[in-house]
Symmetry: C2
Subunit: 149 residues, 2 copies
DNA sequence: TATTGTTATACTCTATAACTATA
DNA sequence: TATAGTTATAGAGTATAACAATA
């Protein structure tokens, strides 16, 4: 269901070397999946990284910026400006930890929670490629997590 | 071998929802792998996308820009400037196809081939996480390719 | 002194529109 | 009219250094 329908397919591109590299495969799979996710999230005015932030705060009330940033791989400077924007957008609050006034405690506002729930509904089962059986999907995720967890 | 050695681990961050999303897993695995690859490639003055370009041209002599860009997921405008740079760097040549003067035929120069071989040596078996057995590594790549091929 | 977070800034990467030349 | 590639440009993402406040 790709180039098959066109008149005459040229010799396929030889990617044999690259296809043996795990990093290349991870990136290409990600690039295949992400456009649809982006499109759905755009409907609720969220970018992927913002959705990720909402998800982590939703499941980890009162998490601080350091742990959030480490978890989702966003550096402190970039996280600061990202959270500035999301806070201005009314999605979350930041308050200093009384026990350690250096750290900021993050929490979702009601609109933040609502936007997150709406986003989740749109994303649900969206990144399940039809080419994978449920078992393969689970197995793939399991193996990926052995890489980065 | 992560936070285990530190004095006292805080409750781990709950990522249960995100960890069920295939796209998130692909990205995090990629982010885990890519820094070492980047570091190795930097030694031969290449960025990942440049290494990818060299690899595709090396295995597909006389490929044109359209097919290269489709294969590695780089848009025509971005590919044009990327190839400008690589050509100026002496890594490859572009010549118009006599049979269709719109398209550019790409080829590696000798320095391009040499740089590519050097890069390959540095990258070899670099993106094989110790946490995966050889079988798991192969299985993971197989499943990823079911997603994007 | 070390840690948390911020500001400023530069650099890279990606996306879009308008264009040239060839077909 | 359609296609291959280019140019220009804007936007998003990422990286680095210097800083303030707190511990």
């Amino acid at each position: 269901m790709t180039a098959k329908a066109t008149s005459r397919q040229p010799a396929p591109v030889d990617q044999s070397y690259l296809l043996g590299l795990l990093g290349y495969n991870c990136l290409q799979a990600y690039l295949k999946i992400i456009p649809q996710v982006k499109k759905q999230l755009k409907r609720v005015q969220l970018r992927p990284v913002e959705f990720t932030v909402l998800a982590v705060i939703a499941d980890n009330p009162d998490i601080n910026q350091k742990r959030l940033g480490e978890t989702i791989n966003v550096s402190p400077p970039n996280l600061a400006t990202l959270l500035d924007r999301m806070q201005a957008d009314g999605l979350l609050t930041r308050q200093r930890n009384p026990n350690d006034k250096r750290s900021q405690i993050l929490a979702l506002t009601l609109p933040g929670k609502q936007r997150y729930e709406k986003a989740r509904a749109g994303v649900a089962d969206l990144d399940r490629p039809a080419s994978l059986s449920p078992d393969e999907h689970d197995q793939l995720i399991h193996l990926l997590q052995k890489v980065f967890l």
